[in-house]
Amino acid sequence: MQHYSMNLKLKVWRQKNSNDNGHFENYDVNNISSEMSFLEMIDVLNERLISEGSDSIAFDHDCREGICGMCSMVINGQPHGPWKGTTTCQLHMRAFKDGDQITIEPFRANAFPVVKDLMVNRSAFDRIIQSGGYVSVNTGNAVDGNSLPIEKQHADDAFAAAACIGCGACVAACKNASAMLFVSAKVSHLAQLPQGEPERKQRVVSMIAQMDKEGFGSCTNTYACEAECPKEISVLNIARLNREYLNANLSGN
């Protein structure tokens, strides 16, 4: 691929704290390499802002290799930007061309209050995970793996669901700011494995109760979440979540 450099016009959301109303500010960034990642491009801008004595743009990041789920931001209306199945940190500047205008916003949802600029508080997801409780496992010697047969399809589906990194792009993309894709991935991950079986019913009921408490919207099956998910979690997991919830309530105490 041809290397090139570009000049860009950025329109970035600036917000001092969760009480501030927030506004957009425009920045010109020049000589950006097509080999840079999107976050490195913001690093370059931040270096400049700091040297000018102004406040740098706050954004979340950690591993920068697409597995931790920390990076967020909505780039030109798309959570994690234009590339499919990619987190913001893995998005590279070759996705853009010279002269492009890029609008950068935080994930917007009542359940994800802005901490500062592009950083949002996604603790709601942590509380949902916590509400799921524990998974019973045998202690002592490790059991022989072959003594726990798991149907291939279930193993594959559980693994695909477990790929969810909890970044919140599904909430950011959803017109209702619904967390159903996230919760469905977490429920599907354990519902298909013998390891999660003992707490299966309680888990789904508690997680949905917590999800509702956090103020997310409900799912109207328009599937924007699946398209924007960097781990391409399938909406069929949402059908499974609905099934699990119904089963748990119909057969529970």
Binding site: V74, G77, N110, F216, S218, T220, E226, A239, N242, N249
Partner: protein, 236 residues
Amino acid sequence: MNWSLLFSSSIGKKIVMALTGIFLVVFLVVHCYVNANIFFANAEENFNRAAHFMGSNLLVRITEIGLFAGFILHIVQGYKLELQNRGSRKSRYAVTAGNKTSKWYSRSMAILGTLILLFLIIHLAHFWVPSRFGGLEEVYYGDKKFHNLYLEMKNIFAEPWVVIVYILGCFSLSWHLLHGVQSAAQTLGWTNKNFFPMIKTIGIVFSILVPLIFALMPLAMYFGLQLDLENITLLF
């Protein structure tokens, strides 16, 4: 199941939407079948007899109460969900690009539902109110007396604007169903990799076919069209 979850939890509310939606779909099939009498030979008598059966049979009348309850639940719960969903993102995006996965009608269920509700009010005022509370002419078949609902239909659909309103109502219904049928299946958890494409196809065929037959009714009345098929009778 703690039944109150059906009205308090997010999935519970959606299950109510899906179940009442399916119930209303079943109603559409019955309504469509009964009315289709007007397309065939001996339309007036067959249709009036069918309407008489629907208005006098005890089981149908009991189901009618359920139908009203189903409509009210579907409407009230639908508006509640819509308000809640709209309120879940107070600060709006400056740029939105996330509409590629869904059609406009999938994102406009509340607006389409409202249009259907307005249509329903007009429709009930046209036909249901006079057949329940009087105001229809009477006709004898043999020595038995029937309401002439067929004549009422002819009179009402003589107005071009009424025909247009009814056709627009059918369009709203079609778009509402195009999203609603497959969405109900997903909400009830009936979808999986092998099954989903089939459900979607059935949903699309149903959503076009049934409103189309309904739309043909005012048109057939207005233009006085009838199929000349002696052997077909939809009377039960």
